[in-house]
Every structure is written in C-alpha cells, then in structure tokens.
C-alpha cells in the first residue's frame, strides 16, 4: 500500500468526497506552488495571487463532486484558478501595476544586473497591458515553459488560435517596450 503522501489525485479526491476532508490538504500542498507562479504573473501581485490560489482551492473543494475525472483533478483545478484570475483582473485591472514594478525593483541591483532588472521590470509592466487571453498564453509558454500543444490541451482550444493570440501579444509587447529592446 502506498504511503498517503504518494496517493494519486483520484484516490485523495474520492477519500475527501467520502468524508475524509482533512486529506484535501494533501492536494493543496501538492499543487499550490505549481500554480503560484502562473497566478502571480497573471495578476502582477503576489498578494492577489495568493488570494486567488486560496479561493480557487476553496471553490474546487465546494465543487469537488463535479470533478468528473478525479484522476485529472489538477487540470480541472487549473480551470477554476484560471477563471478566478481572469475575474480578478477584470475587477482590479490597475492596482497590480505598482507591485509588479516594485517587486522587480527590489531585486539584487549589483553591477551587471541592473540592465536586466530594468528590462525585466519593463516587461512585467508591459505584460499587464496585454489582454488576459494574450497574457495567459505568454505566461504559459514563456514562463511555465509549456508547448503550444500542451497549452491547447489545457485550455481546450486550437494551436492556430493560440498562435494568433501570442503573435498579437508579441506586437503589443514590442509596442510597449519600444525603448527597451
């Protein structure tokens, strides 16, 4: 018998649905950091991202019985988090900009990294100017390192449609970063 910590997602989901609610913490522990970076880059704010990840896990718990394939919990959870991030950006579009800039500005400023830090800061701010759809495909491909095929599977869309979104994002970023490239 496998140790609890190595239990498959489906096994944990079924246990939680059967009443062993404390085991939900295992799923949270397992996936909270995997999507922390996605949420942070999407929202431009660590605080907002932490709230979004927490809220998504609570919502997922509430709707756990609707998770049709418990073995694919993580993909199902991602869509809940994604919706939460999109809603948050619609609600609070401007407030993240300053924190995104500050977070980078606080990084190591030793000689030789200043230019990189400046460019990174500018890119962070420019990303917030993209539409959520554009930002998402950029984050998933260039931050999370997923291929177009993997992103298409995750978002249930087509590769050509993702590429179109991404190429518009490139143009917008170029426009925003004219002085930095």
């Amino acid at each position: 018998m496998r140790p609890r910590s190595q239990a498959a997602d489906g096994e944990i989901v079924r246990a939680v649905l059967a009443g062993d609610r404390e085991r939900y913490a295992q799923l949270v522990e397992r996936y909270r950091d995997r999507y922390a970076r996605y949420a942070t880059r999407m929202l431009g704010s660590m605080d907002a991202a932490e709230d979004a990840v927490q809220d998504a896990f609570v919502r997922a718990y509430d709707q756990l019985a609707q998770c049709k394939d418990p073995d694919k919990f993580v993909g199902w959870f991602f869509l809940i988090l994604r919706n939460r991030c999109f809603a948050e950006r619609r609600r609070n579009r401007t407030s993240a900009s300053l924190e995104a800039a500050d977070g980078v500005a606080a990084e190591d400023r030793t000689e030789g990294v200043v230019e990189t830090a400046e460019r990174r800061r500018a890119l962070q701010l420019a990303l917030l100017e993209l539409t959520p759809d554009q930002r998402e495909v950029f984050v998933l491909k260039h931050v999370e390192g997923l291929s177009y095929t993997e992103i298409a599977e995750r978002l249930s869309t087509s590769v050509p449609s993702l590429k179109m979104r991404m190429h518009r994002a490139y143009d917008k970023l170029r426009d925003e970063l004219r002085d930095h490239t």
């Binding site: 913490a25 909270r32 931050v143 490139y170 970023l173 426009d175």
Partner: protein, 180 residues
Amino acid sequence: MSGHDFHPLIKQLLDGDITLADLPAELHAEGEAALRLLAAVDRTDVSMPAVTWRVMAALERRRRRFLPWLLAPALAIAAALVIWLRPGTPPPSAALVTVRFVLVAPEARQVSLAGTFNQWDPQATPLVRAGTTGVWTATLTLPAGQHQYAFVVDGARWVPDPGAPAVDDGFGRRNSVLTL
C-alpha cells in the same frame, strides 16, 4: 500590420520554431532584440506555503455552522460553565464577571478562546488541560454584557460552543454568544 509589428519570421523565432541563423541578414538585429525581450521573462519560482492552512482554515470556518452534527464525539460533549463570583447578586452595569469556559476535547493538542474580549486573537487565551480526561478550561474575568466567542482547537479548527446559543457573524461563520 502596423509599423511596430514584428516581422512574421521574428514571431516564429520567438515561438522557437526557427533560430537566429534561419533569419535573413537584414532581420538579425531585430531578431536579437526580440530574443532580449524573452530573456527578460521572470521565471523565478513562487512559493505560497501559507495557502495550505489558509484553505483548510477557511473550510473549517464555513463548516462550523454544521458542527453540532459533524463534530467528533469528543468535541460534541463540550460545554461552557458560567460561575458567578457573587451568586444571587446581579452585577452592576460596569461589573466584572468571572466565567469558566470548558471544552472536552481529548484528542486536541491545544485549545484556546478567541472572541470579542480578546480581539479574536486565537493565541491570546489558551485553555489548560485538566489531567488526562481531555477537559480543557480557562477562567476569565469579563465585563458584564454580551460577548461572542469560539474555541480554536489546534490553532486551526474554530469550534462554536455547543452549549451556548450562536449567531451568524455575517461572513458565513457562527459565533457563540455569552450574556453576562
């Protein structure tokens, strides 16, 4: 395509479909600038260790409204006892009243009280375990009037007092009410 759009080949370069060497010479400089843009992507890992307990605490708080039916038997027999220092003598409006809170929770590692009297600080008022029976107690001196409170078991589980009336706090939680 506006004057600021990338050349389609540059977009392929950014997508990783081609390399700089595949670009015609006149696009090299633009290609290098585009790759510098991607080099600025922040891929630093982000960790949110607090999310686990925050999620579980949020679930627990919401569950509290169902606790009379869901609590483990060890918790279900909890009770709060009120001891009046001067029985039979109604306290004046500014009087202080000593109250003894009791919770039976044999499996708990720690129990505390959070309420209006300690700014809902779950660490401010620990209960003391009495012997090995699983009975936890705290004796407080409180001003006369109405107080709302809950027990906090093991720092995370908010438990209303089954022996006291409860009210909704407006945020989906139930608080026990003590009127002195």
